[in-house]
Symmetry: C4
Subunit: 127 residues, 4 copies
């Protein structure tokens, strides 16, 4: 199948809860889910923006051809972990078009809360 989507995506709302309730699978987390329908691996650079300091990154991940990757922002650690309970935002750049969706599971309390939205696709001219 051909490549599908965009090369640049933005997610203004980032915030990783700093604690969790329940079993491991209920760990609070924030995810960017990638879909790469193309026949080429996608090399992705993620830049993390903050409210009070210069951006961090790029964080580098690869999304193989014809695969999805549900990336937990909690698990990024190179060049540095994303601080918990801290406002952040992300810009995602890929060398082949992909589709990106943002999800959070918040299990700070006994029952979970979920949110999701498509990331915002930036057209090449805007980026």
């Amino acid at each position: 199948m051909n490549a599908m989507g965009h090369r640049i995506w933005a997610i203004p709302e980032g915030w990783i809860p700093d604690r969790s309730t329940g079993p491991d699978e209920m760990e609070s987390h924030e995810t960017a889910s990638f879909l790469n329908t193309s026949d080429q691996d996608a090399n992705v650079d993620i830049t993390v923006y903050f409210s009070d300091r210069e951006p961090a990154g790029p964080y580098r991940v690869r999304v193989p051809a014809r695969r999805t990757l549900h990336l937990w922002f909690n698990e990024l650690d190179d060049p540095e972990p994303i601080p918990l309970a801290t406002d952040y935002a992300t810009v995602i750049k890929s060398d082949v078009p992909v589709v990106v969706q943002h999800t959070r599971l918040d299990s700070r309390q006994a029952e979970n809360a979920l949110l999701t939205t498509m990331a915002f696709p930036v057209t090449e001219a805007e980026g």
Copy 2:
């Protein structure tokens, strides 16, 4: 009414909870809701992408003219069921334009959590 929407849609975030709490109507599920406003039935092919194997499908469903279909991904079984508690993503292709929205009800804990977003509309040139 004329057809409305797009012929290709993508949903990067798929994950069906592997258990549920409460009565049947509270069963954990993941849904693609289709709206076909046209006067022709829509023949839909769904391809399922994974993180660690080649895609599965196509799964075939029909959305009748002037109807909505709220399809539970849990109930697809041809060519194979979608595994539970597993990262996946979907590409949806229809022979007439439709509109597609993605929803999850997670009832693993006593109280439910819900998420929704429009699927990502892929323009014909991109697909």
Copy 3:
């Protein structure tokens, strides 16, 4: 301010919970929120699609100039109420451009669940 948005919007995922828990303000409901930034009242026609019968409507509402209207689908009753616990979808047509967002509060269990997304904007040529 000028008009803003689109004249046609679609929401594939509709489902009104058939019961509620807690005080009146926690009543389960499904909402279409309209924003009309223009200096003209917006006359809105809503058509409701089902999985197993012909569409109902149009339901008619007015969104005054420079106002928002958070319309509870539960409260529509002309030409007929929308049945509870039933899959439906909606198409919204307005004579001036508006912006439309879809929200559900599900209070069937003791703790609430919420979902929201922008409705899908249909370009004039598609509609």
Copy 4:
């Protein structure tokens, strides 16, 4: 990095819960998250629409260059606070392109509920 996004955004669904449960960080709130990737500070004007009175504002905020701002609508007070438990909607105008996402945390009950969506990007011609 270049500016990214749009200069005008709309959020039809606004409603700030009028009470909260749990610790301070669980306070019910409604947020507009801004991402400004450009090298210029963004001057933002927010106009608040109601169901039964003329709009309020503009509220003025600044999003510094290369920063994110997660703005709690609860904390706006100039020219006037946004009333709680009241339907409202917002239009956001920035002098440099930004990306805007809308989130609500509702902690009226013991367990939280969350919703999010991208705001609706208004193209310059429409605004």
